[in-house]
């Protein structure tokens, strides 16, 4: 397939217009200014702050160590335990115990224990973020809340300590890039394929430090779950924010000063696979069909929502995964898991041979669960295939959609989901289901 379906229509046009991009609007508001310009550094008030179990103890211990007795505003803070859950080691348990103690000490009420779900899913389900806010989290995939029109981005634990203590943080006002969506997803193609395709075209450098903002006539074809999948992986392009403007803004502000804009025709999109060892190494699925696999993983904050599990169950129902392959499924949250159980999805997956774990990050980041041995090959629905991400540095990680993952688990090798779906008839295609209730 040629790349003519994604054209660069206005690179180099930096209009001196009155209209601000969404990122500029939000940063101007948060820093008490009428307008801000790309490249400027501003000190802005942060609306919400998120930490998970890997960093919460570090952040709060730093506050304790430096003699900070109270947070600027404890109600803006949220802590979710999702990465090392249930704790697989004594050291990780001690780390979590320390965090729990300090969460109480600093009066953080929005603390979600193990089993609630992956931090980004929980933030959205529990309404801890809302449109127009400026949000930071100690996790790079904090860009996910851009699905709700939030300017959200990842920071490290030291900066989080500063933000909690003072309520403020410095930001460089980013340049913005527009992505205009046209057309309809075709049979067997999902939001994951869209973001993987964007990774290929935009790569991991063009959007460095930028705000990537979505619009166009087809942006409404993406429901909240789809937008979360796309915004989640914006950080893999190096983006600071990935924003789907809220409200009636299906056309991006035509006059706002975007440094580049890309038009994507969903009609021409086919299933995409990221091949080792970088997320921008993306190919059409047909280039890798038949590559044998040892493990398939369906889950993560990218693709562990109800619609994702439903698609996987549609492919696997009444069948069994190939001999010699392991399928690990982890729902993105307790709500997702409960809804999937209610719909019979969990039963379908288990009967098809899946190991279904509890809500959490699971094998996504190689902390525990399903680590790969040297030479092993895994296809996952998560967001990173860097060397060593899921265990051995000599293992290979491929990334694809939940449909592609389920089809590949059936085949024991990378498979084109459209071929398997052809035989199934009534499968949900295109956009996945709403994340409401899950």
């Amino acid at each position: 397939m040629s790349y003519t379906d994604i054209k660069d229509v206005s690179k180099s046009r930096v209009a001196e217009s009155a209209q601000q991009t969404v990122a500029e609007e939000i940063l101007a508001r948060a820093s008490g200014r009428n307008r801000v310009n790309p490249g400027e550094h501003v000190v802005a008030e942060v609306d919400a702050m998120m930490m998970h179990d890997i960093f919460a103890a570090d952040v709060l211990s730093m506050l304790q160590r430096t003699g900070i007795r109270r947070l600027n505003n404890p109600s803006k803070a949220t802590v979710v335990f999702d990465h090392m859950v249930p704790s697989p080691s004594v050291s990780s348990s001690s780390h979590q115990a320390k965090a729990r103690e300090l969460i109480r000490y600093y009066g953080i009420d929005a603390f979600f224990e193990i089993g609630t779900g992956i931090c980004h899913q929980v933030m959205v389900e529990e309404n801890r973020v809302s449109p127009g806010q400026l949000v930071v989290g100690t996790d790079s995939h904090t860009t996910t809340y851009g699905a709700l029109g939030v300017a959200s981005t990842g920071i490290g634990s030291t900066e989080m300590a500063y933000a909690l203590a003072t309520g403020k943080l410095w930001f460089r006002v980013p340049e913005s890039i527009a992505i205009v969506l046209e057309g309809e997803f075709q049979f067997g193609v999902t939001a994951k394929d869209l973001i993987l395709k964007l990774m290929k075209v935009i790569g991991s450098s063009e959007a460095q430090y930028c705000s990537v903002e979505f619009g166009g006539p087809s942006v409404g074809n993406l429901d909240l779950a789809d937008r979360m999948t796309v915004a989640n992986m914006g950080v893999e392009m190096g983006a600071k924010f990935t924003i789907f403007p809220q409200g009636p803004l299906t056309t991006l502000k035509r006059d706002a000063r975007y440094i580049a804009s890309h038009v994507v025709s969903l009609d021409k999109l086919v299933p995409q696979i990221a091949v080792p060892h970088h997320v921008e190494n993306v190919v059409d699925v047909n280039e890798v069909v038949g590559v044998p696999l040892d493990q398939v993983f369906i889950g993560s904050c990218t693709n562990g929502r109800l619609g994702d599990l439903r698609l996987a169950a549609d492919v696997l129902r009444g069948k069994h995964i190939a001999k010699g392959i392991r399928l690990i499924v982890t729902p993105a949250s307790a709500n997702v898991m409960a809804a999937a159980a209610r719909e019979g999805i969990i039963e379908d997956l288990v009967k098809a041979g899946a190991y279904v774990g509890g809500p959490g990050c699971g094998p996504c980041f190689g902390g525990h669960m399903g680590l790969l041995a040297p030479g092993e090959r895994c296809l996952g629905t998560h967001n990173r295939n860097f060397r060593g991400r899921m265990g051995s540095g000599d293992a290979e990680i491929y990334l694809g959609s939940p449909l592609t993952a389920a089809a590949s688990a059936l085949a024991g090798a990378i498979a084109d989901p459209r071929e398997i779906l052809d035989g199934l008839g009534s499968v949900h295609t295109g956009t996945t289901m709403s994340s409401s209730g899950g």
Partner: protein, 175 residues
């Protein structure tokens, strides 16, 4: 508060790395809860296995484009600082890595084509204030980005933690 002047001009041996050095390579996820000494042994092992045992204090890590891509883990720059690395100079940085480096008081400065010109083991001088990197033996000088003044203040103080200590001391007085 002690001011640190070692952050304005740095002279040291260059360790050359390729493009897209990720936080997973700098701080592999499976060692995340191992003891600190243990974690340091695995820094960049998948890129250059000899690095962690052979790097000496004051040396400089040179990377290609997109250095520090990946997760927000602050252990990535912290491990380099703990190994004694004096500065990271890369063609370009992933956003969070560059922020985190400054926040913990490690110089991270972008110098767009350095990785194509420098050779492993070259002695280089990084002038943070002027925004310049020189390869001394070969008389090559390249322009680098400068670091905005608020961040230079953070570097001079040794990172954000000493700044927090000042706020903590104020809160103690309020009581």
């Amino acid at each position: 508060m002690a001011m640190n002047d070692n952050v304005t001009k740095i002279l040291g041996r260059a360790w050359l790395f390729g493009p897209d050095i990720s936080t997973d390579m700098l701080s592999p996820g499976q060692y995340v809860h191992h003891p600190p000494e243990e974690r340091l042994k695995h820094v960049l092992e998948s890129a250059r296995p000899e690095f962690a045992s052979q790097v000496r204090p004051g040396e400089i890590v040179v990377g290609g484009p997109n250095f520090g891509c990946g997760s927000s883990r602050e252990s990535a720059p912290q491990h380099l600082k703990d190994l004694g690395v004096a500065a990271v100079v890369a063609d370009s940085f992933a956003r969070i890595f560059a922020r985190n480096a400054i926040a913990i008081g490690l110089v991270a400065i972008a110098c767009p084509t350095l990785s194509e010109v420098v050779e492993d083991g070259d002695i280089i001088e990084v002038d943070v204030i002027a925004g310049r990197v020189s390869i001394l033996d070969r008389n090559i000088t390249l322009d680098a980005d400068s670091i905005p003044e608020p961040m230079m203040d953070v570097l001079r103080l040794g990172g954000i933690e000493p700044m927090l200590a000042l706020i903590g001391a104020e809160q103690a007085q309020d009581k």
